[in-house]
Subunit: 448 residues, 2 copies
């Protein structure tokens, strides 16, 4: 029987960082990663296969990351975890004994429980090269693509499936706005304008009741009976944690149906088994409540916690702040922490500050894009609860600055004195730098 100090099950956004961090923290320990897939797709890159990047093969995580860090790789499916013997069994009969085990089995797309989802030309964001190659062929042929779900995945798929093609792309969203769970209404409306400009149709407040057709899709039926023509349907309606293996091993499952873990990312059932990424239960940073958020970046942060804690409990997970960014056409959007609506729902008395300026200076610098920052503070103590950004390509890192301020519990007063560097070709002007001006306007509003 093979033996490894650490066995990691799953080779994507959670498993790889867990394995690498373990090797960095405990170089004397052997680490073996077992995954099902011959090739691993970059999860956040899936939508971009269909336009910008061009093929699944161009969107792979290189195995060199494992080799370079001295991590052994087995491609195979783990069928069983024997917790008493501390042994995993791989399909085909191989067994591996472990000292510490990491479950990083990820998630699978939610398939709506409606008639017709099994028809040909109904797809979802499945992380499999052959599946995605077939899906790409279909996108190239389809005339009427319907995307169910207007979250990040749905919007990104829509934008990419439209690129360089003479087709009709329609997003059907059950909520009043696309991206509504991630952004405040004014930002959603901006995003919707971007979609419209790119020729993408959006139906909101609409529920898909059935997918119609014979063998192939011909239309979808909305609640109320309206039908919309479609020769291809893509579902982007969330994901569910892959917990079958963990459940079979008797590991407790939490309230969001993910593997229950403590603040050290140990399963609450077995101190020798850890979990990270989409398969692991999460807690929101501010409320401490169980959270269904799933992001590759969170999987990575959790993986790093797991890697550090495997043989010595070093790091506590302070809860998920939730930091997203995306781009529609040339306009990027980002958010970190609580948006205003969510903060109010959580019972906070909130004060907001907002500042808009070009992201270069002077505004005549080539590539300058008007960029807006909205910050949300608790009126009680001035604490930064969250922020949103819409603007140019700097939006991703600008959103991460907001995240840095949140995870350091900064107040409006402190953010208003933020010491940033600025440069004509790289940032807004120091005088109108959006982050500090939004914070200062919030301070002003608090004083009222």
């Amino acid at each position: 029987m093979k033996k490894s100090d650490v066995v990691v099950i799953g080779g994507s956004a959670g498993g790889i960082p867990a394995a690498i961090s373990c090797r960095r923290r405990y170089p004397e320990k052997s680490v073996l990663l077992i995954r099902k897939e011959e090739q691993v797709l970059i999860p956040c890159g899936l939508p971009y296969i269909f336009g910008t990047v061009g093929s699944p093969e161009k969107n792979l995580i290189p195995d060199a990351m494992l080799k370079n860090n001295g991590i052994e790789l087995i491609i195979g499916e783990v069928e069983e975890i024997d917790r008493d013997k501390k042994v995993v069994s791989i399909a085909g009969g191989e067994t591996v004994s472990y000292d510490k085990l990491v479950s990083a089995t990820g998630s699978s797309p939610v398939i709506l429980p409606i008639p017709g989802v099994d028809k040909e030309n109904v797809f979802s964001a499945i992380k499999d090269v052959a599946y995605l190659n077939n899906m790409l062929d279909k996108v190239n042929q389809a005339k009427d693509i319907i995307i169910i779900g207007g979250g990040f995945i749905g919007v990104e798929f829509a934008d990419e499936c439209k690129k360089n093609r003479d087709n009709s792309v329609t997003i059907i969203e059950i909520l009043p706005h696309c991206l509504e769970l991630a952004l405040d209404e004014e930002f959603c409306i901006e995003a919707e304008r971007g979609l419209a400009e790119r020729g993408i149709k959006l139906l909101t407040n609409k529920r898909v009741e059935a997918i119609l057709g014979n063998k192939q899709v011909s239309a979808v039926r909305l609640a109320g009976g309206q039908e919309r023509k479609a020769d291809m349907v893509i579902m982007g309606v969330g994901a569910r944690p892959n917990t079958e293996l963990a459940e079979k091993a008797g590991l407790q499952i939490g309230p969001t149906r993910a593997i229950a873990v403590d603040r050290f990312m140990r399963t609450i059932t077995d101190p020798n088994i850890f979990a990270c990424g989409d398969c692991a239960e999460k807690y929101a940073y501010f409320s401490g409540k169980p959270s269904r958020i799933m992001l590759a970046s969170i999987a990575g942060a959790e993986g790093r916690i797991v890697g550090a804690n495997l043989f010595d409990t070093r790091y506590r997970n302070c809860g998920e702040i939730g930091v997203f960014s995306t781009i529609i056409g040339e306009q990027a959007f980002g958010c970190a922490g609580l948006i205003e609506r969510m903060a109010r729902q959580e019972g906070y008395d909130v004060v907001t500050g907002e500042a808009t300026a070009p992201d270069r200076h002077p505004g005549l610098m080539p590539g300058a894009t008007s960029t807006k920052v909205k910050l949300i503070f608790s009126k009680d103590n001035g604490l930064l609860l969250g922020g949103e950004v819409s603007g140019g390509r700097g939006t991703g890192e600008l959103t991460n600055i907001i995240s840095a301020c949140i995870q350091n519990d900064m107040t409006a007063y402190e953010v208003s004195l933020f010491q940033m560097g600025t440069h004509p070709a790289l940032t807004a002007s120091p005088m109108v730098y959006q982050l500090v001006n939004a914070a200062e306007l919030a301070v002003k509003a608090m004083a009222r």
Copy 2:
């Protein structure tokens, strides 16, 4: 006699934020800003007038910023401050009484004390529209431009003066590398490679001893006697604080020859007079030592402190972290806090971590640029002392994330768990995100 609750002298990177912040914090107070210039140039934009932007008139700070915030403007030169009567006198005879006064008189370029600096075609970064228009004409005509000083200003002028022109541009730097005061050697070498690729010549370890010629410049002479042909010379060798007015008013001057202020940005001489920006004495964040650093972004942060403290001492200046960024061709560079060499000079036992990855993911995304982050930590307590970045256009905000981590006294352990958002078109992949990987590698190095 005119009367204003607050009078701000100087209308650029320090004065404007001081005035605006005062109006935001104390909306009941009247604020009058007095400046010499008809039109105010964006200071960091000066080099870009000569290539990317095209004219001084396209690089102006709009007066609307003042009007929109209810700030009155007088264009004129303050000749005297009567501290007993609390009155300033403007050239031409007008007088204004104040309750609180802000000196934001900025700095002027250092002119080297060498023969020939008064010849025609010798220029420096003087913030004056007519001067810069003349300088632009000369840049357009010059065949052999010599730039004295390879700091940020010198390098940016070189890059811009070369753009779209058939000329020879040479930087002469007294230190072993260009940008040596801001970046560690390996980054300087990268920058030098960028300059060379753009056809800019660089002479290091060379001191200019004299500027030669008759009425016009014909050459410069280096120490040792070597001569270099030149029909235009641009000096970028630093700036000195404009303190004449303050000195005349009896305000104490500090060890860097700037106006001495306390941690609340009040002059140490007169509690009713504050100073901010290049004219005000600065202290380094880590050492607390007087610092000669001058940046528009620092002026802005200080201006915001002044604006808040004028009538109620609210904010302490924690010292200047020093956050720069620049770009040479398409490669950007940034630094925040202490570079490795400076940290060692300050006596720190340092540990560094470095990570390089494309700034988009997969690396095949259009526009992806290899981006390196180096972080410098104190080995004693793991505290982040500084960081450097070289890479794509996200470098400016990425450097600001490092600044956020420094100003919150984060350790390598904490930075390695940083919760960032990532997106294929906007950031590095979560697995290779440079900031957290550099921190984790530093943690590994500390454990040795």
